[in-house]
Each structure stands twice: as structure tokens, then as C-alpha cells.
């Protein structure tokens, strides 16, 4: 029952952050950041095993490994960017959060561009 551990860590972090927030706002942000990082590192070990299974399935289906790696990279960027922008937004810096999200979208677009080009080329080759 690992969910109990995660919920416990989240509740303890929330209570401590709310307690400290009235006296010391900066440290409250750091507490919520630490809580998030601890939960994140915990879930990441599970994500690793999922990705191993996906890799195996892709190699069985003869899918080019480049495509799977691109999808995983996009997932990682989205994960990290969401984490960072949420922390910024919690601290009341909504504009910084929006910029982080914007940068993440741009980086995802850069990663996805070769695949889009490949799709367009295959469509063009199908056309007479």
C-alpha cells in the first residue's frame, strides 16, 4: 500500500506549509517544493518499470525506437514543466508559471517536428 505513504507525506507537507506560511512565506514555498520532489522521486521509480514494458512492446511490434524515445522525451518535458509551473503558481508568480509552460510547449513542438514532417512526407508519397 504505497498510496498511504504518498498521502501521508502530502498531508504532513501541507500541514507544515500552512503552519509556516503565516510566519515565513518563503520557507512555506520551499516546504511545498520539497514535498512535491519527494513524491515525484517516489513515483519516478514506478514510471521506470512502465517504460521498460513499453520498450519491450515497441521492440516486439518492430516500431522504430526513435519514435518511442521522442514520446518519452515529450512526457518528461511535460512532467517537469508542469511541476515547475505549479510551484511558481503556488508562490503567486502566475506570469513566471505561464512562461515556463510556454517554453515547455515550444520545446515539445521542436521535438515533435520531425515526426510531423515524416507523416506529411508519407502522405505526399501516397498521393498520385
Amino acid at each position: 500500500m504505497e498510496i498511504l505513504q504518498v498521502v501521508g507525506v502530502g498531508l504532513i507537507g501541507t500541514v507544515l506549509a500552512v503552519f509556516v506560511k503565516e510566519r515565513n512565506k518563503e520557507v512555506a514555498v520551499l516546504i511545498s517544493l520539497t514535498t512535491g520532489i519527494i513524491i515525484f522521486i517516489f513515483t519516478l521509480s514506478k514510471v521506470g518499470s512502465i517504460i521498460n514494458v513499453l520498450n519491450e512492446l515497441a521492440s516486439k511490434a518492430n516500431i522504430n525506437i526513435v519514435y518511442l524515445t521522442t514520446v518519452l522525451k515529450i512526457m518528461g518535458i511535460a512532467y517537469i514543466a508542469e511541476f515547475g509551473s505549479q510551484i511558481c503558481r503556488d508562490a503567486g508568480e502566475g506570469s513566471t508559471a505561464t512562461k515556463v509552460e510556454f517554453a515547455a510547449k515550444l520545446l515539445v513542438m521542436v521535438l515533435a517536428l520531425p515526426i510531423i514532417v515524416a507523416i506529411l512526407e508519407s502522405v505526399l508519397s501516397l498521393l498520385p
Binding site: 507544515l16 515565513n24 516546504i31 520532489i37 519527494i38 518528461g76
Partner: protein, 65 residues
């Protein structure tokens, strides 16, 4: 799951707020500010080490080299 870090940072926050109040009562406003700043810096150093560990792990898992 090393939850000790959350408690440590909360302790630093409470301690610095106490120092802040004490120094303010004693009429040393500038020292109060410096005490708060030092507390935040110490906590930040601890958090940034953990954040670096998280980033390196994400890099490893999601092939983000």
C-alpha cells in the same frame, strides 16, 4: 521517501521566524531581515540538492540527454 527533510525545513522556518520576532522586539530590524535571509538560504541549499537529484533521475528515466 526521506521525509526528514520536510521536518528540517519546517524547523528552520519556525526558528527563523522566532529569531525575526526576537530581533524585531530588540529593535534590530536589519539583523532580523538578515536572519530570515540566512534561514531561507540554508533551506534553499538543502532543497536544491534534492532538486538536482530529481532532475538527474528524470533525465535518466525519460531519455532527456
Amino acid at each position: 521517501m526521506n521525509i526528514e527533510l520536510i521536518f528540517q525545513i519546517a524547523g528552520i522556518g519556525i526558528l527563523t521566524s522566532i529569531f525575526h520576532t526576537l530581533l524585531k522586539q530588540a529593535g534590530k530590524e536589519e539583523y532580523a531581515f538578515i536572519a530570515t535571509l540566512a534561514g531561507v538560504a540554508i533551506a534553499l541549499i538543502m532543497v536544491i540538492q534534492l532538486l538536482g537529484k530529481l532532475f538527474s533521475e528524470v533525465k535518466g528515466v525519460f531519455f532527456l540527454y
